[in-house]
């Protein structure tokens, strides 16, 4: 548990880790950690990325989510600030198809002017132990220069992530029905996670 929490603490922004990293790790050593604590560390680390500087937070330029048979598609254009003050567009397309015992995920994304790369993951769901499931997966990374990287691996999937994802998609649907923009919805989610943290 402590190892997982220490690993999750690396998700905090670099400037946060530089200031609080040592003392935070000392606290993680002192505390009898629960799964709730570990989840809290993950949420707090993500929150720090969004809250560190309001003017430096990412902005959703466009986001469209569609339900498809046995899954969903997500198209996103997100503007991220760079350290030099310029901004970078990250464009992404995600399609997830889940057949119960197995799933396929397609991600096609590009950062700034870099050529897009495509990642295809095919997974077979395995045994569940607590909040985690062990899956056998095969991953293909297809790059624009014509190279293909193939990897077979056993991965641990955090089951609560599914519930978080379902909740976010519901917030998106409700927000769109209420006439909000995707960025309005994102800012609302960010504000809610800020007050919870």
């Amino acid at each position: 548990m402590k190892r997982l929490a220490r690993w999750l603490a690396r998700l905090y922004p670099p400037q946060w880790r530089a200031r609080y990293g040592h003392e935070f790790e000392a606290l993680l050593e002192d505390v009898n950690l629960t799964w709730r604590d570990v989840f809290g560390v993950a949420l707090s680390a993500l929150g720090e990325h969004y809250m560190s500087e309001p003017t430096m937070s990412p902005r959703i330029v466009d986001l469209v989510s569609r339900d498809i048979p046995h899954g969903y598609e997500l198209e996103t254009v997100v503007e991220y600030p760079r350290d030099d003050g310029s901004r970078m567009l990250v464009r992404g397309f995600l399609r997830e198809v889940d057949l119960g015992d197995s799933y396929v995920t397609l991600t096609h994304s590009s950062r700034g002017s870099e050529p897009a790369q495509t990642i295809l993951v095919c997974g077979r769901k395995g045994d569940i132990d607590g909040d985690f499931r062990t899956d056998e997966t095969e991953m293909l990374v297809l790059r624009a220069d014509g190279t293909v990287q193939r990897t077979e691996q056993t991965v641990k999937t955090w089951l609560k992530y599914d519930a978080i994802r379902v909740g976010l998609r519901e917030k998106y649907r409700n927000g769109m029905q209420a006439g909000l923009t995707p960025d309005d919805i994102f800012q609302q989610i960010r504000a809610a996670s800020s007050s919870e943290a």
């Binding site: 003392e23 000392a26 002192d30 505390v31 809290g40 943290a197």
Partner: protein
């Protein structure tokens, strides 16, 4: 009172404490257990606002914090507001 920032300020009003000591103190006086992520989220926010400041780090990397004068003033204002709500609520309950 469950606002983590206010709980941290109330804990430091007694004297300087590091993170783990704050967690134990808050559990004792408020009956609430703040997780490490929540606690340090509050500490970072309070330090940014100048309401607490770090003291000298101990050899075991534990970092004590001190309540600043501004932090004490903010805590007093918040607690006075809460006190007013508590007194009004109790008074209304007695007359209900």
């Amino acid at each position: 009172m469950s606002d983590p920032a206010l709980l941290v300020l109330a804990s430091l009003a007694e004297g300087d404490k590091h993170g783990y000591a704050m967690m134990e103190d808050i559990q004792r006086f408020a009956g609430l257990r703040l997780g490490p992520g929540t606690l340090y989220g509050a500490i970072a926010r309070l330090e940014q606002r100048g309401w607490i400041r770090p003291g000298k780090t101990t050899e075991d990397r534990r970092q004590p914090y001190t309540l600043s004068a501004d932090g004490r003033r903010h805590l007093e204002e918040q607690l006075s507001g809460l006190n007013q709500i508590v007194r009004t609520g109790l008074k209304r309950l007695r007359h209900a």
